[in-house]
Symmetry: C2
Subunit: 309 residues, 2 copies
């Protein structure tokens, strides 16, 4: 039995192996994914984004508990393009989520990657489908990214929850352009910290400037470590799910995201073809020797190389 | 007079404008860079890397003070691919470096980018040459990157200083594989924090495992905010500079980096050519419609599109 069939059959190890192939850019992944993409997408893909330390994992953990209480299988994907020295939250996520580690109905996976962020977004979208094939109705994707050199969670999720805290930095960052457009729901976590009321007001003011009509972004105050506010957050998520299911919004969103994913695959494949045709490292160094004495500049030399291909 | 000539003539505004073009991916940059790359490279490119909050900017600030005391013009490039919500240090850098903001002999520039990290590495390498043309003998490049989805500072700098603190997380991260290979010098900053001795020992143990022969990575303890240890750090940097200048190490390093930079430019140019040939968003969505009902998978569809190009 191939991996795809085994995954659809409920084999968690097969799912793990395919996720590793996806993460490593292993060429064997594509054949399995071709099969998996014939299976239904997850009912709901929930994105959790926000600065490191805001409590995304704690919130994911609390939401997982709620879905499990309803008997649903749920997947969590923590995507982080961080390097070892920039302090990614991946290890922490794994530790914090241990509460569900022995629950067969919860599939938790951290993903990091050496590939460029475009590739990581593509990989995360593929990973969501692996979890769906494994029977996860809901997949939670947790990431610090907003698409600027990182993973664009809006390209993967149906509903995006921005998790922030009353900390001054978070507040300023949250209000910055770019973040306003991606959040469907704002969770103000750690709301027992000082200045929570001030933070809540400034966030509400910022979101009030969004164009009228359509979805009004709710602010939910949470204290995820104590489970406070999680019920309210889950309700807001369900309300948003109903909102996008009506009027064809979800369909249009998924079509746009499918097109984006398709474009990423085409780009990556073409890049691979290009890379195969470029001079190897030794030859590139031989050519680059002319750069060191200033006898030619790299832009002119690059043009020479491209013409010679 | 073109920007390149103006920059070589000491015009700081011209340098700023070209840096903005580089940052924005403005097509006019290439013509100016073609001229600038005929001018000499900087004598020394120093990379400062480490987790956010470790004190990279404070150390850069202190080192700038030393170079200025010798009357040398110095450039600082703070490169950060962070998104608005992951909490980049760019704004903080600008604020902390204000001490030198009115000194015409110091050129400070923050660079962020929406482009993918490969593009940002290429842009940072170009920016270094702009500062060199502007008369900066030494250019300090400050980044959280190690090349995993970020900017690879080893591809730009002659000497890489890893800045870390006794904080537990930093220690663990610093010892992780990948970081060991890139550091030429380790600065243990904020060494008045608890556990500094423990951190110093664990770092020294980790670096002792590097293959014998060649450069022995020194650990310098600093308290950059008070200027403590900066003299020792500057000496270590100079010692490393003499080490690589001997035996042709610097030449080989710069050749490898020039080849890497050249490859980045070729790749980017080819990618642009590809992007121009791909179906536009509307057409891509039209094709992607077949994905939503599972009648085809995105990998097979991508192959169809590539064959049709």
């Amino acid at each position: 039995m191939g991996l795809a069939a085994a995954i659809a059959n409920g084999d968690a190890r097969a799912a793990s192996r395919l996720l590793s192939w996806i993460e490593d850019g292993d060429r064997r992944a594509a054949a399995e994914l071709k099969e998996l993409y014939r299976l239904p997408a997850p009912s709901s893909v929930l994105g959790l984004t926000g600065p490191p330390g805001a409590g995304k994992s704690t919130i994911a953990d609390a939401l997982v508990g709620r879905y499990r209480a309803r008997g649903e299988r749920v997947g969590v994907l923590a995507v982080d393009p961080s390097s070892p020295i920039s302090g990614g939250a991946v290890l922490g996520d794994r530790i914090r989520m241990q509460r569900h580690a022995t629950d067969g109905g919860v599939f938790i996976r951290s993903m990091a990657s050496r590939s460029w962020p475009g590739g990581l977004s593509r990989a995360a979208a593929d990973a969501v489908r692996v979890l769906a094939a494994h029977g996860c109705r809901t997949v939670i994707v947790e990431t610090v990214g907003t698409g600027q050199g990182e993973v664009d969670v809006t390209r993967i999720a149906d509903t995006v929850v921005l998790v922030c805290t009353p900390a001054a930095g978070d507040k300023i960052q949250a209000i910055k352009a770019g973040v306003l457009e991606i959040a469907d729901i704002v969770a103000l976590n750690k709301d027992d910290l000082p200045d929570a009321d001030v933070a809540a007001r400034s966030i509400e003011t910022a979101f009030r400037m969004r164009p009228p009509g359509g979805w009004r972004v709710p602010l939910v105050r949470t204290r995820a470590r104590d489970g406070e506010g999680i019920g309210g957050l889950a309700s807001a998520i369900e309300r948003h799910g109903r909102f996008i299911a009506g009027g064809g919004i979800l369909g249009r969103k998924r079509l746009a995201n499918a097109a984006h994913h398709l474009r990423s695959i085409v780009r990556e494949r073409l890049l691979e073809k290009i890379a195969a045709r470029l001079p190897d490292d030794r030859e590139m160094e031989r050519r680059a020797a002319r750069l060191l004495d200033g006898s030619i500049d790299p832009y002119s030399l690059a043009e020479e190389i491209i013409e010679s291909l």
